[in-house]
Symmetry: C2
Subunit: 555 residues, 2 copies
Amino acid sequence: MSKQLFLYDTTLRDGAQYKGISFSLQDKLKITQLLDDFGMDYIEGGWPGSNPKDEAYFRHAKNLGLQHAKLVAFGATRKPLTTVEQDAQIQSLLSANTPVVALVSKFWQYHVETVLRTDLKENLSMIFDSVAFFKSHNREVVLDAEHFFDGFKDSPDYAYQCLEAAIEAGVDNVTLCDTNGGTMPSDITSIVSKVHAKFPQLSLGIHCHNDCELAVANSLASIKSGVTLIQGTVNGYGERCGNANLISLLGTLLLKPTFNQAYAVNSNVKASHLSTLSKQVADVANMPLKADAAYVGNNAFSHKGGIHVAAIAKASKTYEHIDPALVGNQRDITISELSGKSNVQLQAKKLGLDVSRNFDQVLESIKSLEKNGLTLENAPGSFEMLVRKQDESYQPHFTVLNIQSNVNDLNISSPHNSELCTATVKVRVKNKFAHVVEEASGPVDALNLALKKALTSFFPQVRDMQLTDYKVSILDPEKASAATTRVWLQSGYKQERWATIGCSDNILKASAQALIDSYQLFLIKFSDFTEGKQTTVPKHHSLNFHHEVSHNGNA
Amino acid sequence: MSKQLFLYDTTLRDGAQYKGISFSLQDKLKITQLLDDFGMDYIEGGWPGSNPKDEAYFRHAKNLGLQHAKLVAFGATRKPLTTVEQDAQIQSLLSANTPVVALVSKFWQYHVETVLRTDLKENLSMIFDSVAFFKSHNREVVLDAEHFFDGFKDSPDYAYQCLEAAIEAGVDNVTLCDTNGGTMPSDITSIVSKVHAKFPQLSLGIHCHNDCELAVANSLASIKSGVTLIQGTVNGYGERCGNANLISLLGTLLLKPTFNQAYAVNSNVKASHLSTLSKQVADVANMPLKADAAYVGNNAFSHKGGIHVAAIAKASKTYEHIDPALVGNQRDITISELSGKSNVQLQAKKLGLDVSRNFDQVLESIKSLEKNGLTLENAPGSFEMLVRKQDESYQPHFTVLNIQSNVNDLNISSPHNSELCTATVKVRVKNKFAHVVEEASGPVDALNLALKKALTSFFPQVRDMQLTDYKVSILDPEKASAATTRVWLQSGYKQERWATIGCSDNILKASAQALIDSYQLFLIKFSDFTEGKQTTVPKHHSLNFHHEVSHNGNA
């Protein structure tokens, strides 16, 4: 029989402490739905006593009709020398009206004395009273034992007294927190084992931070020592270096025999949904996804070294610890000077392109681009255009003859964008010309609108193509604002996404290069265009935009 | 007595496989110097048999005059069914003429049979012959046992036979590689312990990958089981999800009692140099530093949650597992809606600003900016300007009255930037005006040059200020090229760095906002300007740019 583990997500509470994250109420509700769809057992939604947004969240979250997860409101044990009835924070926690409450409590003498500035006995009463209060209101109570491991090392006796107070008050689970993230796996193993041996009936949880890059390892160690409730966040968001990354933890718990033969999580949770969940939450959080994230990162199954690529072609398990499809990810062979011929051939084959005739020429072009600072690794669209342009038979759908851009009277003191940018674009398609002007608040937008306007007059389906992401990086910062800028952009049509790049010391020119490649690619893929015969029905050919999967699929 | 551990850095070989990294020869030499200065025992510089850049590297690296580190050339055991003398790769490895060679070798039956496609006995000979060859040429030989753990799990017998062949040939160290990064810490412990028990005289190394977010934990587990040579990379760069992060490993080995009481590394290595090494290597690699990196990340000691900030003010060890100064890092209190008043007050105090009179107004301004998508967390310069602008007595050094920008004839088909961008800027300083025009290849550069020209006519010291970094992100990608762009830029003067932001749906306007704040700040800090009394001697006042430390200090 497998031992049942419970997944406790705190992305919306501890995850929101991650620098750079700022969830709106709508963001929090969206993520709640994603977490429930995925199959989390507990969703810690926020701290109703600390800010109005979190109070509003709990009012709205009730209407989501969660299918699986129990909603948790987070708070603290009562203040010293008062009663739970008089403690406003306790009362607003009760008003959140969730089936579960989590109470953070002090288990470390040092913290009680220097921060709370109360005596150790009063802290025990605070634990007892607070737990007992919520039990009397029929709540499931998770007690977060803050600094449990630091506290235990200083005084196991006091840590045990705190645990006993909680048990006596009827606590449902005590979660042992490595609040500062400084505990070593060996200490996690020994301390959790002692606690589990002393209180075998008590349900234990774990809450780890990543300050030593050990949060995942510490969580796994705790499971082997008796913990059954796993706190963590999607993508490891959280205070400072983050919390234990539930995505990595679940990859291991679900796919590695040491764990999946001994432990089980609820049956809604599927490893194959991990990549989607990771991307969806990153999207809502507006955080870039770490390319090197375990299991789900874009690079997690990328192969750059030439010998690796050659071996993968023979037997994938030589350089892949799992089949990428098991976590909803996919293999990605990168193009680079290190990779040698195998990579380029494999990549071209994946795109359905024949490079057998002009292979050396293609390789040369890649090397020359890379020398100039353009890396094609994250822009398969530009790689495809490069291969196509090397083909003698390649005929572009259109040629851009001229672009001009103008920004009038940039009124810095006004918060509003009263100024106007204009762009003119002249395009040739066979023997016909379009010369158009467009205006917008920003010069890149004006340029894109003008290009789109010119192209739409020939290819109406261009209207439905979207620019979905746009990034700029500078390649040689020491050149200051004269630096070479690399523009990376992602375009979209329905569920498809494709990425192209441009590079210049003029940001508009770099943008134009990437935009033009993107429009050319769109026309190659989705248009059955011959002059006079235009269709808006997309035609996929054998090609696909596998690199840029939609983030909007169902979890 | 502490057990001696040896640090083996493979940033230049396995680290170079990280997607996005492309080291030039100069980059590699720079990093070699940084690693030697830091005190690494071994520096694996590249694979001379695989590409001309790495061959050139070993020719040049000899002239660096390394003080401490031994240079390692990486290669593979000889090919099947040939001799070491006839194997070109072996010969070029010899020609690299390094004191140490590392040989990758197969320890997994499956790999030998499916990829090498040779028999198991021949593989043993390949190991023996290759090790013996380099020993006969007086090289120190590190044998990288590829897929050691996968191989051992399939057949301990064959893994032992490989080890015996290496030992018989006189190998100096066998490094056990978790090549695919899929091994669990418990398996590392049990397998390394067995190997160490069977060959107690053999020096063992470890080489872990981060595919399960366990590379650091696995490396630590191996040390506890008998390994003494630790392979890893600075910042964890490496194939796929990366290699074991030496920065995180060293933080723990040097600062955590479980390790620093039992093990020692060479005395040149200082924990306090870790932040600098991490930043310097990231700079050369042109990779953004992960803000949430353990020990050295900008966020590693940032405190966003209000209660954490309040507690830190009382007793820092409540939310810091180590003193940030121990690793050359520093505490960072972030500004955000979550943080409450304590953060804003602390941050202002750090900057030497008095917010007591208009605190609510400052807080309101921050909240209103954050609502519009501007986060001040990474732009302390903008935070400072915001606080200053709220002060009734604030007098800007200059006022920008008008900016215009023009891009003529963007010739897309030309690889060169023949086109010209112009910007005109009108600035007022007291009752004097400057109206100037500048030209450049790009519109942002033209804008910056024009601003600089206008300001230099009043404040000559502006000439020495530099724009050192420039980033653009879009806040609402669904709005396509009309999206709001956030420009973050870092300016520099001598060793100082400061960061400001701007936000607009016009990238030029966002850039102008950030530039103008940056120039204002420069003039506040480094100019003792009164009209008619200009000095180029910087005056620091009591303020400092603590957030953006120089990356160029000595390790």
